[in-house]
Amino acid sequence: MVERGAGRGSQPAAFDRIVFKNASEHHYMRVCVEFQEGGIRLNAAHFKQLVISALKELHGEVGAALPVDVLTYEEKTLSAILRVPSSGLVKLWSALTLLGSYQNRKCAFRVIQTSPFLLALSGNSRELLLD
């Protein structure tokens, strides 16, 4: 505790207490899609369409209108980082889990990491290689 030297004439130190109920308004997920047959290429637009069609199947037009963003996409590994508002996380995750096929090809989504902060997705201790 720091006391001001001036005595009674000075005003006490003012402070503001800000409480965040929700840590962050977006949730970030690192996901990858696996197809039963190998050798399938998707570009970023196809990937987003895959996500939106999963949402549309399970949650209808309202679910398909959820503002999901694909922040990064790697075509070789078919993995991406998705951003979704925190209120829509349950809808997105459940839709990705229940997606069975895309254009008559069987596929599955694997959720690797999820976090309310993007920085947390930069490192993954499971894939850490110790030399």
């Binding site: 949402l55 549309k56 199947e57 399970l58 209808g60 037009e61 309202v62 679910g63 459940s94």
Partner: protein, 168 residues
């Protein structure tokens, strides 16, 4: 008390086509509502709203429908009703829309609201009617329901006086 709570949605089917009245029946209305929920809220919404979904009351002459669903999911059903655009019956399609009048927790509250609503509608019809015989018939029905209201009030106030006398 543990019981399943429901919400009753009182809706009015409004249509330009007068032949739509014939095709209002329980199956067509139920199919139209479920189809709208499936489009708007997907498989999850359809499954949630279908749990205790029934058409409890249907009046083809006035186009009044009473739908029931679980209390937890009534918002899904309510938000999907504006997306109903047609009713289909025996391969005949009539365009219409659903106008939600009242949401109640019990059939009784919906019935009370419907009685008052019908009274107001009768007065509106009286105001807007064109021919003399229509005017006569509407006036007769308005008088009959208003007289009943006055009689009910008198009997109710009589009962209340008796109750007060007993408690005193």
């Amino acid at each position: 008390m543990v019981r399943f709570k429901h919400r009753y949605l009182l809706c009015e089917i409004v249509s330009e086509d007068p032949r739509c009245r014939q095709c209002i029946d329980e199956r067509a209305v139920s199919a139209a509502a479920k189809d709208a929920v499936a489009r708007t809220h997907g498989d999850y919404g359809l499954a949630c709203c279908s749990i205790s979904f029934t058409v409890k009351y249907l009046n083809a002459y006035t186009g009044i429908v009473l739908l029931r669903c679980r209390k937890d999911f009534y918002r899904l059903l309510w938000s999907a009703l504006p997306f109903v655009t047609y009713l289909e019956n025996r391969n005949q399609r009539y365009s219409c829309f659903f106008n939600t009048l009242h949401v109640g927790g019990t059939i009784r509250t919906c019935q009370k609201f419907l009685v008052q609503y019908n009274r107001k509608q009768l007065l509106l019809l009286l105001h807007n009617c064109t021919s003399e015989e229509e005017r006569q018939s509407i006036q007769k029905s308005v008088l009959s329901c208003c007289l009943k209201e006055v009689e009910e009030e008198q009997s109710q106030s009589g009962d209340e006086e008796d109750d007060c006398a007993e408690t005193d």
